[in-house]
Symmetry: C2
Subunit: 452 residues, 2 copies
Amino acid sequence: MPVATAEDRMLEIDTRPVVLDQYTVDETGRSGQRPRGLVYPTGVDDVVAVVEWAREHATPLIARGAGTSLEGHLLARGDELIVDLSQSNKILDVAAEDFTATVQPGVTRTQLNTAAAEYGLQFTVDPGADASLGGMAATNASGTTTVRYGGMRANVLVLQAVFADGTVTRLGRAVRKSSSGYDLKDLLIGSAGTLGLITELTVRLHPIPEWIHSLRISFPTVPDAVDTAVEMLGLALPVSRLELVDAPSMAAINAFRGTCYAEAPALFVDIESSSAAAVTANEGEIQRIAHAHNAIEVATARTHGDRYALWEDRHNLYFAVKASNPGRRFLITDTAVPYSRIAGAVDTATRLGHELGLNITVAGHIGDGNVHTIVPYNEDEYPGAQVFSDLVVRHALEVGGTATGEHGIGLTKKKYLREEHGSGVDLMVAVKRALDPLGLFNPGKVLDVEPD
Amino acid sequence: MPVATAEDRMLEIDTRPVVLDQYTVDETGRSGQRPRGLVYPTGVDDVVAVVEWAREHATPLIARGAGTSLEGHLLARGDELIVDLSQSNKILDVAAEDFTATVQPGVTRTQLNTAAAEYGLQFTVDPGADASLGGMAATNASGTTTVRYGGMRANVLVLQAVFADGTVTRLGRAVRKSSSGYDLKDLLIGSAGTLGLITELTVRLHPIPEWIHSLRISFPTVPDAVDTAVEMLGLALPVSRLELVDAPSMAAINAFRGTCYAEAPALFVDIESSSAAAVTANEGEIQRIAHAHNAIEVATARTHGDRYALWEDRHNLYFAVKASNPGRRFLITDTAVPYSRIAGAVDTATRLGHELGLNITVAGHIGDGNVHTIVPYNEDEYPGAQVFSDLVVRHALEVGGTATGEHGIGLTKKKYLREEHGSGVDLMVAVKRALDPLGLFNPGKVLDVEPD
């Protein structure tokens, strides 16, 4: 089943069941229906052709990058065409003098970072997974460095996208700021492919700092760790990573890595500076604050090798938790709350885990108030894991937080949208109907909207 | 002509011509028609009543804060009701532990800063004028500190607004990040009151840094100054203000303030740090970079008093230019361009000024690529000033920039919208129609859309 593209080449739609079946289960193990077909565009002309074909054939489209969504964004109802953009993966330009790069949506963040590093620059949004830039824009991804550099909205300057009528439009300008017209670029970011298909991005790059010190600091209690973190932020220390890991997580790390760290709540911190004197002064200040909040153990890494080793523990946390829960699957919560509610959110999750007999661990980007819990479950424990997740989200919403700090609403969190946004949901529906009147783009994700 | 509000009180609509005539001319001297009436809501219930009244009486609304718009946002066609929110000016909450504050839209930035300072916190968006927070959100204002802290989009977490059907909706959540639903908060920011009326804002506050050094550095040429600025950014120095002032501006400052600074292009810089050692190291690094780029004169201010005096020169620039052009009025351009195009933009403006016989000066927030020119004109020179402004904008658009970095499109820059956004304008029109189908909100501003 071919689609004619603007380049007079035919783009083949793959309809082989054995291929399509690989798209029925996502990274989390959730499953959907077998999609109608699969297509691999390599550029914007291909995508325009696909959108035109989709309109003619009344076939909705699900855009897909690296496939690392955790909330069911990529699962099909059965009638959709999967638009796999992993082959649309060229770095089109690195404009080092402007601190920007322009890429196709299938480019992954490590691919971009390799190219940017040649100029002493980096793309800072780090969601953990080696996600594609298009997918990261679609979910408004963020991660460990967001406390300093912001998430995708702060780091994408321009999006090129194909809209429902096949028009190719550039949203935003490649400048640091603009007050011209409505902010459609940020509307598309986080819209999970439900308003248009992203075909190109111009993103900000940041200089790789010359001086970074890393610290791992253990505390007797979670509130001590949180108070230390908030005090660092209150003193405007140039913290670029600020992660909380709870005691059970540290125990899992010890078991997995053969280390013997204090099995107590810990902060993992990066502090960046532009001179040796500044980074040393800043590190001293962090140590002072930590000790004032009863720090048990302070480990410092000042060289690239030591820093890499220190962060390897944090980056391996998921694998460590996996290893201590053999045979189980995992659910990850993703709430964000105001700073004053972080300790309460961790405490609530820990208490609920005990009550429901779940072996949960808590780790979060607490510089952003983003608290993740990892919930291992087997088949028997699945209902309990669902109850846990639901109570954690409802607690976050009650204290003014959000159901999702960085993973998105997707399919699985639609039930919280009204509670979080109230009548804002009606405005979202109005926008969806205005920009995608036929319901071509990722139907049933983020919002339930019937086409006109 | 009274409007009944939800509190059973009557809100009076002022229709006295002598009062309304004060609203026919804006801060720049541009004039519009006498509006139909004027109303002073003091809270969200009043605003709901006004929107309902407006719908019943088919009377569009122009929201107004401190009245400092430079692009005709507040001028009436003649049939509108002015919704003056200057009496809706309560600070509702300073949540110091969360680094946030919640305010009514008529609160000005200095009013908020006075309240925040009690907690060692500041609201960082500084557009120069003592604008209202609601107005600043409406134009997506930014200013001298944007290079470090971002503009309104980065600093507003939640907007409460009244929409066309009278519904009160909160957009966004008071957390550092969220991937929940469409980003309507950022859509409203910069929409100039054309989609709904802002009735409350929750904004980010930032710690007031303990150590700030300020520098004024003169250079033989604009490219030397720009190269110094970009190199500072490339080394990730914690610069919080980074302003370029051209030679004619420095001459105007000397004449106005009785100083004898080099009449050469200059950078005004703030560098912030969390320790004395760090700020000293960072200042030394800036001096080194400046000298490597041929700096003529470096003045450093390290105490609060000295810093205040150094920045007074920059803050008085507009008055200095006014004083050297007696009897003239002023037009201010507001383009932003990529870093690599800043020197070219300044050069183009200078050359065009000479060619058109205009006594222009250039000053800009060059850390954001935002280049302002001040164009003095008398009646004879007005056509030349218009040509100048038009050519400066077209040059910025040609090199990938924006027609407006921070002042907004308003009434005066609508003609550039299509050139800047292409088919994006059609999407903006679709969004406007979806959210304001009756054309109730600030008609004819930003976009020309006929109501359905």
